[in-house]
């Protein structure tokens, strides 16, 4: 189920039909009283709640806050983690020493540190940016080093035989070879940063899309809660698709 983005019409229509079928089934089970509307809102009410989210609950502002925080965290992570990955490549001792630790960080629940970021940064968007940066930097470091290691040695040797300096080797051989890997790392950074930022917005009531879901639940606006959840899903999916397309475009693939 790899990274295939474009679908032919047949499967796309079948997928849409599937979603429509699920929506109809949910509507039916709620309308017939099989399931309480306080557990599952009927899709008609969820659709109706979108308008209220946009006009009365600041959906647009929440979207911009989440997006902005994700881009800021990812940009910072790219600026810091790419040179760090290069350093781990240039210094094999450091690379071997830290590779497994950084890999372990990838699965560590770094997001659990958010209460301390609340104390350090206050109740602001910086909490999400800091966490997103820490989480997102890891794949960039790993992928950058992997990319440089993947550069064909023969090309490096040829460049050196023509008297190329370290900078020229980096610019003309290493970076082009590592580029697809670096962009994969940046794409993973975007996705994981966003996941953590939305999670913190939800947990710490900091604003943004994650906060909107929690707020609707707390206010017992169940259809609006479902609508806000759908918004988060659509935003995540959009992010996923956009980042894949940008990666492919930048990688020249």
């Amino acid at each position: 189920m790899g990274t295939r983005i474009g679908c032919s019409w047949g499967p796309a229509l079948a997928g849409l039909a599937g979603v429509a079928g699920v929506a109809l089934a949910l509507q039916a089970v709620v309308d017939t009283g099989l399931v309480s509307p306080f557990m599952i809102s009927p899709p008609t009410k969820i659709a109706g709640a979108f308008g209220e989210l946009v006009s009365g609950e600041g959906l647009g502002k929440a979207f911009l806050l989440t997006f902005g925080a994700t881009f800021a965290a990812s940009a910072l992570a790219t600026l810091v983690a790419t040179p760090a990955g290069y350093l781990l490549y240039r210094c094999p001792l450091l690379g071997r020493s830290y590779e497994s630790w950084i890999g372990a960080l990838f699965s560590a629940p770094i997001v659990l540190l958010y209460p301390m970021f609340l104390v350090i940064f206050g109740r602001s968007v910086l909490v999400g940016i800091a966490t997103g940066f820490l989480v997102g930097a890891v794949p960039i470091v790993l992928k950058t080093r992997e990319g440089f290691l993947a550069a064909p040695p023969v090309l490096i040797n040829v460049a050196r035989s023509f008297g190329a300096s370290d900078r020229e080797v980096l610019r003309k051989v290493l970076l082009p070879a590592a580029r697809p890997f670096i962009f994969t790392g940046v794409r993973l950074c975007l996705i994981y940063s966003m996941i953590n930022i939305v999670g913190i917005e939800f947990l710490a009531n900091l604003g943004g899309l994650g906060y909107l879901v929690g707020e609707m639940y707390d206010r017992y606006e169940i259809p609006a809660m479902y609508a806000a959840t759908v918004c988060v899903i659509l935003t995540s999916a959009l992010f996923y698709v956009l980042s894949a397309r940008v990666e492919r475009w930048l990688s020249g693939r």
Partner: protein
Amino acid sequence: MAVRSVTPVRPHAVLAVRIATVFAIWAIWEALARSGLIYEGVVPSSFLVVAAMARELASAEFYRDVGITAYEVVAGFAAGTAAGVTLGIALGLRRFAEDAAAPYVQGLAATPKIIFLPILMLLFGVGSGSKTAMGAVSAFFPVVVATAEGMRCVNPVLVRVARSFNASTWQIVRKIYLPSLVEPAITGMRLGLGVAIIGVLLAEIKFSRAGLGHVAIQYYNFFHVADMYAVLLVTFALAVAANALMGAIGNRLIRRR
């Protein structure tokens, strides 16, 4: 593109760098703790954290909380894995179905699972049920994606040969697909376990009355920071150990296949 082999590095040198790094981190931490630069208590002395860890490990209540979190993780992971493998196989058997479902599965896979917690609390209540469900939802997506990918990698010649011998779908699944899926499914399960642990902990932080996530946030609420760090460190260690165990079991299963 072949990966260039890394310049040989002596293991002793690696160990020395690691020890030096741990020492440097500890020294910076202690310096920060004593400097007063950061709001008091946010960076407690490592000795306080170690003492807090000793208290936790000596407390019976701590193990009760570990047990509750472990139960939620294991039960959720098992349910998510079972559903993920089943759906992954079902989608992999029909290319059309996989193509139709792929955008929705990938879209949901990229979604922060914690936002499903309110829905899960409506459906399963505010107790362990919603936390277990959170673990299941978290584990499900890496497993279904990896399993479906694995199905695509199965050699179609083997399937055609089986069909030529009039093998039923169930026989083909059991004798050809399942053995081929061990490696990709285990890769998915390793990822799934990691995210299941995080999902359960976050759910306990949001609303729970027991479990490691609840303990950590309660310590934060009362600003017992050293205790909070102690619980987080133990939680990290348990998560790493669980991942390592999953990896060891997975490697063993792959070797035995």
